[in-house]
C-alpha cells in the first residue's frame, strides 16, 4: 500500500479513470478493484455480494454521510495520515498460485513464533496463507459444529450470507447499535464492509458451544473492513471468540472493523477477543492500524461482557462499549493491552447507564514495554433515569523499563444523584525485588517477568474461556521475550 500511496494524485486519477472507462460490468467481473472510493465502487461491492437493493441504499447513505466526516485526532496516538484513496476496497481472496507454496516460503521469524506458541503445522499453514488444498481436520470439525448449531436453531454465518439469507434480521439490527454515521471509521466500514460474522441465538436457547471465527473457515481471509452482528434473543446465551493468538500478517495496513451486539431482555453475550495483528518491526514499520468500533446494547436484565487481550497492531484504537438501556442490565469490560517496541494503544470502554439498577464493571490492565505508549480511555455515564446505577472501575498499569509510557483518561458523567461510581487506578513497575526473588529461586529473568505480568493480568484472564486463557498467557510470554534488559 505504501508504494501506491507514493503515486502522485494525477497518476492515481489517471489509473482510476482509465479503469472505470472499461465500465461497470468489467469491474464486477474483475477480481480486484482499482484503488479509490466512490459510489460506483460501493455499487460494485454490493453487486459482487449479490446484495438486495436496501443493502446498497444503506451503504450509499453511509458513504454520503461519511464524506462529511473528519478523521478523529483526539486519541493518544501518532501516525502518518492514511491515504484512503490508495486502498482497493474489494479484492477476491488470493488464488492458490499467488500464495506461498509451502512454509519454506514464509518469513522464518513468523514460523519461529508459531513454534513457540505450539501451533500445529496445518494451522501454521493456514495462518501464513499457504496454498493448501488438502482438507484440514478442522473442516470436518466445522461441519460437525454446523449441524449441532442448526439443531439448536442458532444461525452462524458470514455477514454477506446473512444479508441474502436472513434479510429480516439483518435489516432490523444492522446499524441499530453502531449507527452508520457513528464515527469516521464506523462510517467508512458501513459503506464498504465485505466480511464478518452474523450470529442469531433464538429465544431461550443456550448456544451449545463457544462460537469462534476460527471455525468459519470458508472465510479464512479476514477482511480489512469486517462487520460483525450478534443478536441474542430473549433469555438466550452465547459466548463468542474472536481472533487467535498467532500473529496475523496482512498486506492491508488499515483495519476498521465494526462489531454490534444486541442482548434482548434476559440475554447474555460474552465476547472474547485475542488480537495479535502484526505490530510492525521495532520502529513500528509495516504494522497494522486497527481502528475498531465495538458496542453492545443490553436490554432489561441482559448482560454483555467484553474481554479482550490486545498484543498486536502498530496502532490500536478501540473502545468496546455497553449501552445499558434496560433496567437491571449489566455491562462488563475486562482488558489486557500489552504494547512494546513502538506500538501505540489507546483503548478502553464506555459504559452508558440509561436504565435503573444497572451495573457495570471495568477492569483494565495495561502493560508497556520498550518505547511504546499505552493509554486507557474510559467513559462512565449515568443518565437521568439511571436510578441506583453502579460502576466499578479498576485501571492498572505496569511499566517494564523506563522508555515506555502509560496514561489514563477516565471520563465520568453522572446525571443521577443515586449513582455510585468507583474508580481505582494504579501504576507500578516490575520491581527489582520481585525479579530477584524469582531469580534467587532459580527462575530465569524472562520467565520471571512473564510470570509476574501474568499474575498482574490474572483478573482478566480468568474471564476468558479456559483454553483461550492458557493461550493468552503463552502469548504474553512470547510477546515479552527480549523485553527485559
Amino acid at each position: 500500500m505504501s508504494s501506491q500511496a507514493e503515486l502522485d494524485n494525477s497518476e492515481l486519477d489517471r489509473v482510476i479513470r482509465s479503469e472505470y472507462e472499461a465500465g461497470f460490468t468489467t469491474l464486477v467481473e474483475s477480481d480486484t478493484l482499482p484503488p479509490g472510493l466512490n459510489e460506483d465502487v460501493i455499487r460494485v461491492i454490493s453487486a459482487k455480494k449479490e446484495e438486495p437493493e436496501w443493502m446498497l441504499e444503506w451503504r450509499l447513505e453511509a458513504y454520503r454521510h461519511w464524506q462529511t466526516m473528519q478523521e478523529p485526532n483526539w486519541a493518544h496516538v501518532q501516525y502518518p495520515p492514511v491515504d484512503l484513496n490508495a486502498i482497493s476496497y474489494y479484492s477476491a481472496p488470493k488464488s492458490m498460485e499467488d500464495r506461498p507454496k509451502s512454509l519454506d516460503e514464509v518469513d522464518p521469524e513468523l514460523l519461529e513464533t508459531y513454534k513457540k506458541l505450539g501451533i500445529p503445522l496445518h494451522e501454521q499453514e493456514m495462518l501464513a496463507g499457504v496454498a493448501v488444498d488438502a482438507v484440514f481436520d478442522s473442516v470436518s470439525v466445522a461441519t460437525t459444529f454446523k449441524s449441532k448449531l442448526a439443531e439448536a436453531g442458532v444461525i452462524f454465518c458470514s455477514i454477506s450470507e446473512a444479508v441474502r439469507e436472513h434479510p429480516e434480521l439483518v435489516r432490523k439490527y444492522l446499524g441499530s447499535v453502531v449507527p452508520k454515521g457513528d464515527n469516521f471509521f464506523a462510517g467508512l466500514n458501513s459503506a464498504v464492509f465485505t466480511d464478518g460474522s452474523f450470529v442469531y441465538i433464538p429465544k431461550g436457547v443456550r448456544c451449545p458451544m463457544e462460537l469462534s471465527t476460527y471455525f468459519r473457515i470458508n472465510e479464512a481471509n479476514t477482511g480489512q473492513f469486517e462487520r460483525t452482528l450478534i443478536v441474542a434473543d430473549e433469555g438466550s446465551y452465547v459466548s463468542y471468540l474472536e481472533g487467535c493468538t498467532a500473529p496475523q500478517r496482512d498486506e492491508n495496513q488499515l483495519h476498521a472493523a465494526v462489531v454490534e451486539l444486541v442482548a434482548l431482555p434476559g440475554a447474555e453475550i460474552k465476547y472474547s477477543t485475542v488480537q495479535n495483528w502484526y505490530p510492525g518491526d521495532e520502529d513500528g514499520k509495516g504494522g497494522i492500524y486497527n481502528f475498531v468500533t465495538k458496542r453492545g446494547v443490553a436490554h432489561d436484565h441482559a448482560k454483555i461482557s467484553w474481554t479482550q487481550v490486545e498484543t498486536g497492531s502498530a496502532i490500536t484504537w478501540k473502545y468496546p462499549s455497553v449501552v445499558l438501556r434496560g433496567d437491571h442490565s449489566v455491562g462488563e469490560f475486562y482488558s489486557v493491552a500489552l504494547t512494546r517496541h513502538a506500538q501505540q494503544a489507546d483503548t478502553g470502554t464506555k459504559m452508558i447507564h440509561l436504565g435503573k439498577n444497572t451495573k457495570s464493571t471495568i477492569v483494565s490492565k495495561g502493560i508497556s514495554a520498550g518505547k511504546s505508549s499505552n493509554a486507557y480511555r474510559g467513559l462512565v455515564r449515568m443518565g437521568p433515569r439511571a436510578e441506583n446505577a453502579r460502576n466499578f472501575t479498576q485501571c492498572d498499569s505496569l511499566l517494564l523499563g523506563d522508555r515506555c509510557g502509560a496514561h489514563t483518561f477516565p471520563y465520568i458523567e453522572s446525571k443521577h444523584p443515586s449513582a455510585t461510581i468507583e474508580h481505582e487506578a494504579t501504576t507500578s513497575k516490575v520491581s527489582d525485588d520481585q525479579l530477584f526473588l524469582c531469580r534467587q529461586r532459580g527462575i530465569d529473568p524472562e520467565k520471571a517477568i512473564s510470570m509476574i505480568v501474568n499474575g498482574f493480568c490474572k483478573e482478566v484472564f480468568k474471564e476468558l474461556p479456559m483454553e483461550f486463557a492458557v493461550e493468552a498467557g503463552k502469548l504474553l510470554e512470547v510477546s515479552l521475550e527480549g523485553a527485559v534488559g
Binding site: L437, C438, R439, Q440, R441, G442, P445, K447, I452
Partner: protein, 259 residues
C-alpha cells in the same frame, strides 16, 4: 562447599565488606552475628547475587565455582538458597505456580527427577504442615497479604521443598514471636544433614537456642573479628557486642542495607 577468602564488597558503590574469610563445610551450621550495620545482610545478598551488591575484591567459591561469575538464578540452580529478611509480594502469581517454576528450574539443573503435579502438591502440603502454614496459602499470591510471620514461614516452606545444598537465612528470626520462632527452627533443623550447609544471619542469640550452631562468627566493620563454638553466642548475650568491638558496637542507627 562455601569458601570465602578476603572478600570485599560494596553496596551501590559504598564499601561494606572489607576482607571477610569464612569456610562452610557440608553438614555444618554457622551463625553470623553482629551489630546492626556490620555487614551481615550484605554478606547474604552478595552471595545470592542481588543487583548493586558488588564483589570488589577477594573471592567467594561455591562448590569450587566463583560466585562472581554466576547469575543469581545459576547460583540458585547450583543449590544456593536465600531465605529473605523482607520477602516481597508478587500479586496474582500463586505460591503453587511459583514453587512449580522454581522447582522445575532447580531440579532439572541439579539432575534430580522431575516431580509431577500430584507429587509436587503432596510435597508442598507436607512442607506447609511442617511450618504450620495452612495449605490454603499455596493458592494465594506469593506473600500477597501475608503477615510478617507468615512470610517468614513461607520462606522456610520453600526452602524445605527446594532442599538446597547451602541455605542462607537472613534474619529469619526478626519479627517472629516465640511460637513462630520454634516452628521455623523446627523446619530448619529438619533440613540439617551431612550434605547440607546452613548459614544463619542473626542479630540475636535467641534463634540459636533452637537451632544450635556448630560455629559462631562475629562480624563487625565488614570483617569477622571473632569465631568460636556455640558458647560464643552465650558470651555475646551476656556482654553485648561492645565486649568485642571495644565499647563501640558499630550500631550507627542504620539498619543493614537490605531492602
Amino acid at each position: 562447599m562455601l569458601e570465602i577468602r578476603d572478600l570485599h564488597a560494596s553496596v551501590a558503590g559504598q564499601p561494606i565488606l572489607k576482607g571477610l574469610n569464612l569456610t562452610v563445610k557440608p553438614g555444618e551450621v554457622h551463625a553470623i552475628m553482629g551489630p546492626n550495620g556490620s555487614g551481615k545482610s550484605t554478606l547474604a545478598n552478595v552471595l545470592a547475587g542481588r543487583d548493586n551488591y558488588e564483589i570488589t575484591g577477594g573471592e567467594a567459591l561455591f562448590d569450587g565455582k566463583s560466585l562472581a561469575d554466576l547469575e543469581p538464578e545459576e547460583r540458585a540452580q547450583l543449590g544456593l538458597f536465600l531465605a529473605f529478611q523482607y520477602p516481597v509480594e508478587i500479586p496474582g502469581v500463586s505460591n503453587m505456580e511459583f514453587l512449580k517454576a522454581a522447582l522445575e528450574a532447580t531440579r532439572a539443573a541439579q539432575g534430580k527427577e522431575e516431580w509431577d503435579s500430584v507429587t509436587l502438591l503432596r510435597k508442598a502440603r507436607e512442607a506447609c504442615k511442617q511450618v504450620d502454614l495452612d495449605p490454603q496459602f499455596l493458592k494465594r499470591g506469593v506473600n500477597e497479604g501475608f503477615s510478617g510471620g507468615e512470610k517468614k514461614r513461607n520462606e522456610i516452606m520453600q526452602m524445605l521443598l527446594m532442599e538446597p545444598k547451602l541455605a542462607l537465612l537472613d534474619e529469619t528470626d526478626s519479627g517472629l514471636d516465640i511460637d513462630a520462632l520454634q516452628t521455623v527452627a523446627k523446619g530448619v533443623n529438619s533440613l540439617r544433614g551431612p550434605e547440607r550447609g546452613i548459614v544463619l544471619v542473626t542479630h540475636y542469640q535467641r534463634l540459636l537456642d533452637y537451632i544450635v550452631p556448630d560455629f559462631v562468627h562475629v562480624l563487625s566493620g565488614g570483617k569477622i573479628i571473632k569465631s568460636g563454638g556455640k558458647e560464643l553466642a552465650l558470651e555475646l548475650e551476656q556482654h553485648g557486642y561492645g565486649w568485642l568491638t571495644g565499647g563501640q558496637n558499630g550500631d550507627n542507627g542504620k539498619e543493614d542495607q537490605t531492602a
